[in-house]
Symmetry: C2
Subunit: 249 residues, 2 copies
């Protein structure tokens, strides 16, 4: 088993035969997971605003919630932004969400050809790592990054996933790591452990600082919570659903 990490979504990759985990800690994958755990039936990731608006036009009124952001802020005409805290049971329970974000949903749509695609975040990190440990396939941790750049918070999450897999595999076959896999491990070890957890490390990243500057401090604290939503979410047939629906009351 080989573990690779992709640092942004601007290069085309061949995902055939692979298990891919899309990671966009701030905030798409944290938001997707939150929506699903709060009873959202499915999340449909799309790349363009027009695509989202068209999808709503073709469905019955109130059936689809549109969520998404540009430069971190809610898209005009959309119901919700990209803050996980907006995706409450009251707002998304029993409904479907179309999500359109700058980086995370683009990465999801790029995974065509993969054997399976999971949603990764700090919120469900152990669940994801445990699942990956059992797969016999090569693994790609696909960090969405930010407008073609590496985002440190995504790489830190990838590093922690790898660390957990290696720990679980210590008495068996140790997975092989690519250069970027080694880098993610090193980054996690020295940037997260040093500050005693992901919440502070996330707040120190460029995107963390940007979100803080536009008023989303609560999101940083929320998205850094390890194993707060221990669920597996799968992207299949252009939509994301929980592996085993298990809604919070």
């Amino acid at each position: 088993m080989k573990i690779d990490v992709i640092l942004n979504n601007r290069t085309e990759y061949d995902f055939s035969g692979k298990t891919v985990v899309v990671i966009d800690v701030l905030r798409a994958t944290s938001t997707i997971l939150t929506a699903l755990v709060n009873g959202c039936l499915e999340v449909i990731p799309v790349c363009g605003v027009e695509e989202a608006l068209t999808l709503r036009k073709t469905t019955a009124k109130g059936e689809l919630i549109l969520g998404g952001e540009r430069k971190g802020k809610t898209i005009p005409g959309f119901d919700l932004g990209n803050s996980p805290l907006e995706y409450t049971k009251e707002k998304v329970g029993g409904r479907r969400v179309v999500l359109c974000t700058t980086n995370g949903t683009q990465a999801l749509v790029q995974t065509a050809g993969a054997e399976e695609v999971l949603i990764g975040s700090f919120l469900n990190i152990t669940k994801v790592a445990s699942y990956l440990k059992e797969t016999a396939r090569d693994i790609t941790l696909f960090c969405a990054g930010r407008e073609g750049r590496m985002s440190l918070e995504d790489l830190l999450c990838a590093g922690k996933i790898i660390k957990k897999i290696l720990f679980m595999a210590k008495n068996g076959t140790v997975p092989e790591l690519t250069d970027s896999g080694r880098l993610a491990m090193i980054a996690y070890k020295h940037l997260v452990n040093k500050v005693k957890g992901p919440v502070i490390a996330i707040a120190q990243t460029e995107h963390g600082q940007y979100l803080s500057s536009i008023g989303y401090n609560e999101d940083l604290r929320y998205c850094g919570q390890v194993d707060f939503l221990p669920q597996l979410a799968i992207y299949q047939n252009e939509r994301i659903m929980l592996d085993k629906p298990c809604y919070r009351n």
Copy 2:
């Protein structure tokens, strides 16, 4: 002053007003510097094989040396490959070289708009860092990577440049680092120091292992030599020359 690191050459960046250092440790920038120190008059980086062949057709016989690689191996019809050890005084002294490599020359050509562009490698790392310390501009360390992926050896070189700049700046204004700048520092500190120098660290990277598998072990040792060629090379008007020509005998 802000220091940023770019991890590969597949995204377009705005370099206006910036000092850019292109880094392709294995092997383009190590090779360029070696050729120039061995008396090559100038190196002209080009992206395509056809472009290189056309340039030769339009010049007098023997005036231009064509060098370059595809998948690490010499391009058919070219005089030299991309091993710095081929660029001896006998072969390139007093002549001009057209260089066409998979990643490094592509990165160089992408720097259009930058205020100035330098050639970075372990071979001239202190010279580059000292120069950068004196500039008042924002700095971009542009790691060429490998076919759109991050290359660890380039990031390690960037990390060491940053470390040197910070050390020199410790009593003055400390430059600001982006996420990728912090990442490069961490990578250098924990992957190079741990193995006591760049030579072993380079040999452990994916591209290092590939070059070793096709017989270029000597190149790995050569390219990991810190400050072996303490010269500044500048890319300007589509060609690279030494800042102050200083040929070895």
